[in-house]
């Protein structure tokens, strides 16, 4: 398990990194962020870039800033930094809750938020957070900067809207409106493993009824999925266990056939999505005001 030969560059700036990527042919270069997903693939020779562009050391991409009511997070901010950030704990409890479910501290010490988003693993936590929080992903390319909404960023299994010469530079996470309740739950075979299935939920209560409900499930499709049909069923209704049960059932009926593997059959994943949605709604409602 030793990587195939590749060239390595550690550009001194984001601009330089974009230029390097632009100069490389398609599929020749790969961006190395924290490496916690890419390095195993390199060691197994499943990823075989000719050039690795290492952006993990770019200080200009390592920050957690308040931006308006939300947070702007540099793509090379480690999960560990997010986990330990008081700002994140206070302002983005859902993001914090998701972070501590990712791997272990030894992985989070290297793994970055940008790396996770760009890897777009359908069972990963961060894409689900991005969808649930309505995050925006800022990317830098040869033609400058563009901002992609989370719902447009994640395309399918391990595929994002990033163009070959583009680099994800920042994740903007808006603040949850006051009184919003949230939940982030997953079922994994062991703590720290990729989720078999998971659900991120946010909702508010307006005059005793659910509002602005967002339900995102992950691990069950080719990417994290926001499920409108279930959300619509909840909005405008009183938060009862019966309602949440119906919403979970609805969700499990409308999602496409999930993946089946040795850890879980498709039917099991579908049912987990139901259960986690139901439990997530109840938890979010209990935190909402």
């Amino acid at each position: 398990m030793k990587p195939a030969r590749f060239d390595y560059a550690a550009p001194g700036s984001l601009a330089e990194a974009v230029t390097l990527l632009a100069q490389s042919g398609e599929d020749e270069a790969k961006i190395l962020a924290g490496g916690q997903s890419l390095m195993p693939l390199l060691n197994m020779r499943l990823a075989r870039p000719q050039l690795l562009v290492d952006v993990s050391g770019l200080a200009e991409l390592d920050y957690i800033r308040e931006q308006g009511a939300g947070l702007a997070i540099g793509a090379m901010t480690t999960k560990r930094a997010l986990e330990q950030s008081e700002l994140v704990k206070r302002r983005q409890p859902l993001l914090h809750a998701a972070t501590v479910l990712i791997g272990h501290p030894q992985i989070r010490n290297r793994g970055t938020i940008g790396g996770s988003m760009a890897q777009a693993d359908p069972a990963a936590e961060y894409p689900a957070v991005a969808l649930a929080m309505d995050a925006e992903l800022v990317v830098q390319g040869p033609d400058g900067e563009r901002c992609i909404k989370a719902e447009d960023f994640f395309v399918t299994y391990l595929t994002t809207a990033l163009e070959p010469a583009e680099i994800l530079s920042e994740v903007r996470v808006p603040e949850l409106p006051a009184g919003t309740g949230w939940s982030f739950r997953e079922v994994a075979r062991r703590h720290g493993d990729f989720a078999v299935a998971g659900a991120a939920v946010t909702l508010r209560l307006e005059a005793g009824r659910c509002a602005d409900t967002r339900i995102v499930v992950f691990g069950v499709g080719d990417r994290a999925l926001r499920v409108d049909e279930a959300e619509q069923l909840v909005d405008g209704e009183a938060p009862t266990s019966g309602l949440f049960e119906r919403a979970g059932t609805k969700l499990s009926e409308v999602i496409e056939e999930p993946l089946s593997d040795l850890h879980a059959s498709a039917d099991y994943r579908r049912d987990l999505a139901r259960v986690l949605t139901q439990r997530g709604l109840a938890e979010a409602a209990s935190r909402a005001s």
């Binding site: 030793k2 195939a4 079922v187 062991r190 703590h191 850890h263 059959s265 049912d271």
Partner: protein
């Protein structure tokens, strides 16, 4: 000169043991915690090359052509070998059952995913891996067989054509009038079970450095080798070398649990070394190689079991039918795993008659290997579920049901129907202590209370036997021959009274160097620090098997004590000469040779040793002047099996009762262990801390087997558990606090009364956890019969139970 090995602590020449039985610090540890202990991958030899192996991506495929030219031309590549070299320079592997071996590199076809097809020796592992990618192989894929029942059908693809069948062995063992017992029974219960492949997975994979000396025709293999002498014999057979031309140097290894295997890769590296003109070739198995093609997999089993039960809850008969998919060949000796249950077939119970219908089949999966417990753990999983099925049907508490069937303390030594003899035990006392520790009645109350709240709790009470100190004799039923397993030690006292013990095994984790030091220190009245252990290669060491079969702690105790006794006798003669008395008047006590009844007339062990080595003028004529002796211990009273496979095989029988509380999430099928309590009895505990460590570790391996670990294959025999993302080892988050108490019933037969305890709780834990799972599921009217009880399986059972009409 016959020596008698003390079977009781009181027999030692010490007024009170200072070291044995105490929780001493391990002598192995300072070097290990500082990273100084040398493991095989730390070894660098001059001119050493590195091996990478090209492996078949197909489970079954004919190899029509291999082109290695590009690989050979890559700078840094010194040798490339293929099946042709294996045919030219080696023989098919020795196997059990016999005759199911192939060459170390596929010669005509590949029989499992991961089978070596070619290999490269290069200046670095990186370059070697580059080179194997340049080898082109033309495969003609063949239909693969991944299921033993398919494999047995007429017309199934044959894994080894020359055998004409995929059935490696079919045999029924009948012990007593089983038909009569079942006909007379008030109740008969039957169930089918599936135990999926699991395996050892030590944190260090296997590794070896192979050096073929083309001038002297010597083969030297350094490696992380569990049983060096056996490993050496394997290479002797593979390469057709005289046995004194193969030398095995075993290094400290990062665990084994029976799963070091590695013979194929070793043989491949040997071929490469020969082709590279004798340069040493290092092969370090990487984790993916280990998981897909190493000594990693065991116990791929399909069971049907029945028990005959009397109305009063006494079990009168047991039938077990086992179909075990051994994999592509018999080279891993996985078949032995199916023979060991004979050593404890009826568990801790007085079941009078039994039958074992055993079928071993070949498939296009990885050949099976040994694994901690060596086969009984799945057997006890089955037996204990059957006990619970019966108890539940008869409405008897599972603890009480076991009590009714236990072998009583006054019945030992006790011969079980399958022929083995249990040395001693106090099973009821062990049960009582385990139940008390767990607060069993309170747990049952909690369970009832939880049920009212809609929560699903289950309590497992399981008991199993750990056969200790294996003998080869019972393995003859699957084709391994021999009676007796020697373990030797040479104890030498130097001119200044320091002691060196030469042994034939190396560090593996169980703390045997510490144990040897404890014994020597108490025997000769020296500090543990005055003892040094020297592991020797197979050419220099006394006969040795090494660790395995819960044996080495007992065996090396016997060997060391035997050598000590021999030295004592010699020293008594020398002392008697100096004291001008008869040797019979000399006794050793607390490190001094003294004249009985003459206070002050004594010499220290060091003084006697110094005299022997430096004052020949004072020695009785004709005496061997070395304060040194070798003793080779093997279990007494062993004999070959009879026509039904019966024999005294394992010398000791440890026993345990585990009590487990689990909660099952009704919706997700997740199983959480809330409480884990056990009581075990493995006789005298020579180093209690080490025993506890073995227990803790084996409980956790057992939890892994019950809930997490599984080598899955698809229908085409493609392995699905190829990384640690799929093969799930328990982490600290998956294990509960393990609460333990002990009962000590010394073995009357084993040195110092100690029983084998290395495989430990692996025998009981999977059964206990599954009993708990099934105790919970019984409340829904269903039962888990497949291991591991992964969430998706439990979820499916619950869903099916919920869909069943009420009262059905």
């Amino acid at each position: 000169m016959a020596v008698e090995i003390p079977t009781e602590l009181e027999d030692l020449p010490t007024s009170k043991p200072h070291w044995i039985g105490r929780e001493v610090k391990r002598v192995e540890d300072p070097s290990l915690v500082t990273g100084r202990t040398e493991f095989i991958d730390d070894v660098v030899l001059p001119r050493m090359l590195h091996c990478a192996i090209l492996r078949s991506p197909f489970a079954h495929a004919r190899i029509s052509k291999i082109d290695t030219r590009e690989a050979e031309a890559l700078p840094g590549v010194l040798a490339v070998v293929t099946g042709e070299d294996a045919l030219r320079w080696s023989y098919p592997a020795v196997t059990a059952p016999e005759g199911w071996g192939t060459h170390c590199i596929a010669t005509d076809k590949a029989r499992y995913v991961g089978e070596p097809v070619a290999a490269v020796a290069a200046t670095s592992r990186y370059v070697a891996e580059d080179a194997i990618e340049l080898i082109t192989v033309d495969y003609e894929p063949l239909q693969a067989v991944a299921d033993p029942f398919e494999a047995m059908k007429e017309g199934s693809p044959l894994v080894i054509e020359e055998k004409g069948s995929n059935v490696m062995l079919q045999r029924t063992f009948t012990w007593g009038d089983v038909d009569e017992a079942f006909a007379a029974a008030d109740h008969v219960f039957s169930e089918k079970f599936r135990w999926n492949r699991v395996g050892a997975n030590p944190t260090e994979t296997f590794g070896a450095i192979c050096e073929w000396d083309p001038m002297d025709l010597n083969l030297t293999v350094r490696g992380s080798i569990q049983s060096a002498s056996n490993f050496g014999l394997g290479r002797v057979a593979t390469f057709g070398l005289p046995s004194n031309r193969v030398n095995i140097i075993s290094y400290a290894h990062g665990g084994s649990f029976g799963g070091k295997g590695g013979t194929r890769g070793t043989d491949v590296a040997c071929l490469l070394s020969r082709k590279a003109g004798g340069r040493p070739v290092k092969w370090i198995e990487d984790r993916m190689e280990y998981l897909t093609a190493g000594g990693s997999q065991a116990w791929d089993r399909h069971y049907e079991a029945s028990i005959a039960v009397r109305a009063d809850g006494v079990v009168t008969g047991l039938r077990v039918k086992l179909v075990n998919d051994i994999g592509a060949t018999g080279e891993g000796f996985g078949a032995i795993n199916t023979a060991k249950p004979l050593a404890a077939f009826t568990g801790p119970y007085t079941i009078a008659v039994a039958q074992y219908d055993l079928t071993l089949t070949a498939s296009n999966k990885l050949p099976e290997s040994p694994c901690r417990g060596m086969g009984p753990p799945p057997h006890f999983f089955v037996l204990e579920q059957m006990m619970d099925i019966a108890a539940r049907a008869l409405d008897v508490d599972p603890a009480e049901f076991r009590r009714r069937n236990f072998i009583r303390a006054d019945q030992f030594p006790y011969t079980i129907p399958s022929g083995n003899e249990y040395d001693s035990g106090s099973y009821e006392e062990v049960l009582d202590k385990a139940l008390e520790l767990a607060g069993y009645a309170e747990l049952r109350r909690q369970q009832a209370e939880a049920l009212e709240q809609g929560r699903l709790l289950g309590i497992g009470v399981a008991s199993a036997i750990e056969p200790g100190v294996f003998d080869l004799n019972v393995y003859s039923v699957v084709g391994m021959q021999g009676t007796g397993v020697p373990e030797g030690a040479t104890v030498s006292i130097d001119i200044l009274g320091m002691v060196t013990v030469r042994v034939g095994f190396t560090l593996e984790g169980q703390g045997q160097y510490t144990l040897v030091s404890q014994i020597i220190a108490d025997y000769f009245g020296v500090e543990m620090d005055s003892v040094r252990i020297a592991p020797l290669d197979t050419r220099s060491a006394p006969p040795s098997f090494g660790p395995g079969g819960s044996r080495l702690g007992v065996a090396i105790t016997g060997a060391v004590l035997g050598a000590c006794e021999r030295i004592r006798e010699k020293m008594a003669i020398v002392t008697a000469g100096l004291m001008q008395t008869e040797p019979a008047n000399i006794e050793l006590m607390d490190g001094r040779f003294r004249v009985k009844g003459v206070p002050g007339a004594e010499m220290t062990v060091a003084e006697v040793a110094g005299t022997m080595l430096a004052r020949s003028d004072l020695l009785p004529p004709g005496i061997d002047p070395r304060p040194e002796a070798t003793h080779v211990w093997t279990a007494p009273g062993r004999a070959p099996v009879d026509e039904e496979g019966r024999t005294k095989s394992y010398l000791t029988a440890a026993q345990a009762v585990h009590v487990v509380l689990v909660e099952i999430d009704r919706e997700t099928g997740q199983v959480e262990i809330l409480k884990y309590c056990l009581c075990d009895d493995c006789g005298t505990r020579l180093n209690p801390a080490t025993v506890e460590g073995q227990t803790d570790g084996s409980v956790v391996q057992g939890i892994g087997a019950a809930l997490l670990e599984e080598y899955a294959y698809d229908d085409e025999a493609q392995p699905l558990s190829t990384t640690f993302m799929e093969y799930l080892l328990p982490t600290i988050n998956d294990v509960p606090l393990i609460e333990k108490v002990a009962v000590v019933t010394p073995s009357p037969f084993a040195p110092l009364g100690a029983k084998g305890c290395g495989e430990g709780a692996m025998h009981t834990t999977p059964a206990a956890v599954m009993c708990a799972v099934n105790d919970a599921l019984a409340q829904l009217g269903t039962r888990a019969t497949e291991v591991p009880a992964a969430p998706h399986r439990v979820w499916k059972l619950i869903r099916e139970a919920n869909e069943k009409p009420q009262g059905a």
